[in-house]
Symmetry: C2
């Protein structure tokens, strides 16, 4: 799921409470629905070896994206990646895309074409087909609704609730780059003059902006984890590691210990953080929209996972271990001390208080 950039609140409130109340009230008893509300995507049983996976997202201008700092092609690209990532986190193969737009008068057809261009660029590596949608007017803001279907082999779908104490916690790629890119954008917008920029600094910024505008959906990695059965649980990092590890732990009814020193952080992100006197690990923990996969692996499968990842050139890093629920979610600092993990996650919808 995408995250709100504007509205932040404590987790377990607002959205999560609403979703929970809906699950209780309207939750399906239907035997064809393997997984529904609360997961990244729904899994629908079909009388075939493959199950249908479906995810839907609604993106609001001014909340999920800002056309003042982001080219509309990149809005399309990121919208596609957010949904591809939901499908990846289920270990499914993405198939058909449906796009509904509510378009304000200020946006013309040429811009909409550019939006679709970015969207389809993100989809192309995975042979996803645009299969339908809806186009309507909006009074002020652009709203984008994306529905993406996928298929996954029966009973192979990755899930959030399978982690067990002792399992190792892994993430793909590097963390915090997207957040750093967003900070660069926000600063550039606040400063009227362009910052004085040395060539090396420009390269760092370019990398981080690229990671923000054009993140990678880990579809191949998800397929690998699903088909090999190596992952006991998985979730995609849309809200940030600190928030998403908690979601995974809550649904698996376990705790976790993260290792601060082990978090995979790119050289650019480290340089950026140093420049701002920030701890890069904080960016890695709280930065949303990395769209990396967080997954758990049985202790007995760890060597096989590492071996296969190396051979396939999938960048996977062990960042901690699953603990019993009573342990909670804690993080080990560089000095070896353990502290409860403070969740600073994104929240979409805030109840009036």
């Amino acid at each position: 799921m995408p995250k709100g950039k504007v509205s932040r609140a404590s987790p377990q409130r607002g959205e999560f409470a609403l979703i929970k109340s809906l699950r209780v009230r309207y939750g399906s008893e239907d035997s064809g629905l393997i997984r529904g509300i609360g997961e990244d995507a729904a899994v629908i049983k079909t009388p075939t070896p493959d199950w249908l996976v479906l995810t839907t997202d609604l993106l609001a201008e001014g909340v999920h994206f800002d056309l003042a700092t982001t080219a509309i092609e990149d809005v399309g690209y990121r919208a596609a990646v957010a949904n591809l990532s939901d499908i990846a986190s289920m270990g499914a193969r993405p198939r058909y895309l449906f796009v509904a737009l509510a378009i304000p008068p200020a946006i013309d057809v040429e811009e909409i074409q550019r939006f679709y261009r970015g969207l389809m660029q993100a989809c192309r590596p995975f042979e996803v087909h645009l299969a339908g949608g809806d186009t309507s007017a909006s009074i002020r803001d652009l709203f984008i609704s994306i529905t993406l279907t996928g298929t996954v082999e029966e009973k192979r779908a990755l899930r959030r609730d399978g982690a067990r104490p002792g399992d190792w916690l892994y993430v793909t790629g590097t963390l915090g780059d997207s957040r750093a890119g967003l900070m660069i954008l926000t600063q550039a917008r606040q400063q009227s003059a362009r910052p004085v920029s040395r060539p090396r600094r420009r390269a760092v910024d370019r990398f981080l902006l690229q990671r923000h505008h054009r993140p990678t959906a880990r579809v191949d990695e998800g397929r690998w984890l699903a088909t090999t059965g190596l992952a006991t649980a998985a979730i995609d990092l849309s809200d940030g590691l600190a928030g998403d590890v908690r979601h995974l732990c809550t649904q698996s009814r376990v705790g976790a210990e993260l290792d601060r020193a082990a978090l995979p952080i790119s050289r650019s992100c480290t340089m950026f953080a140093r420049r701002r006197a920030l701890d890069p690990a904080d960016l890695a923990l709280t930065g949303g929209e990395d769209y990396e996969l967080l997954f758990t692996v049985r202790p007995s499968d760890r060597a096989r996972l590492e071996r296969q990842a190396t051979r396939m050139r999938y960048h996977c890093t062990c960042v901690g271990q699953i603990k019993p629920a009573s342990f909670g979610v804690q993080i080990r600092a560089a000095d070896g001390s353990l502290r409860p993990l403070v969740t600073e996650s994104y929240e979409h919808f805030r109840t009036a208080t």
Copy 2:
């Protein structure tokens, strides 16, 4: 598809042009996609006797609904019916519902619960299950994205492009009630004082408001037409008969002759129109959101259709006949004269001109 109440433009422009350009550019060559962009819903081939049907809609506050005149329960009800109707127009059985909302600060959780209540009330007769979705913030307006899946027996799906010259044109239910209900709402809003109202007039208004707020999705009729193979083509009336008969004719590459005197109009709608010195047939032709089915029947099947409809108590009325494309779309007046049908249809998205 729902229609924009605010933006109107000539058809074949704006939305239709945009959809067409997208179909050309990104249209699927995928053999698993039986029908895609341009239909009410996509049909996806699965290796089972059933095909998957999927429709998605995006509704914008101030464009597709107005919370000043419509209770939020009814917004939910109508949003569900619009999508159920898309599934019905394919002859499919609706199955799973996905709802994404972008919620402005002015709307609280209790109102969202009421929205869902209306939504699920419309779904209940059809055993549709709420299977997932997304909730996020919106700065000003409420946006609702609905995705509904359905299933239909292989090759039985109703389509828009199967009408042939000589086929009879039928509609379910009565036409124009929803538009009349909308006019009552709009007037009530414009008048500061309540209109002086006689009991009989109040009953008329109540009926028309009910038809506007709680239209009927013709799912059972769609299933009947699909399973019996009686309909050569079908479309649901969301834009209004005049606009939708044109869509059906364009996709079937045929013309049509409508019979003005044959249009099924409720007694309430006739009384309402008389009160306003309007021709009820104009309401029936141009009123959107009736969500009735318009379908075509081979001449040889006409008697069978009428017989079955009577037995099943499905209200179906013959309103004209399919003609060759060169005939265009014309309407026969009460005096027997034929005139080209003026399309006054709803258009969602207007290109800047």
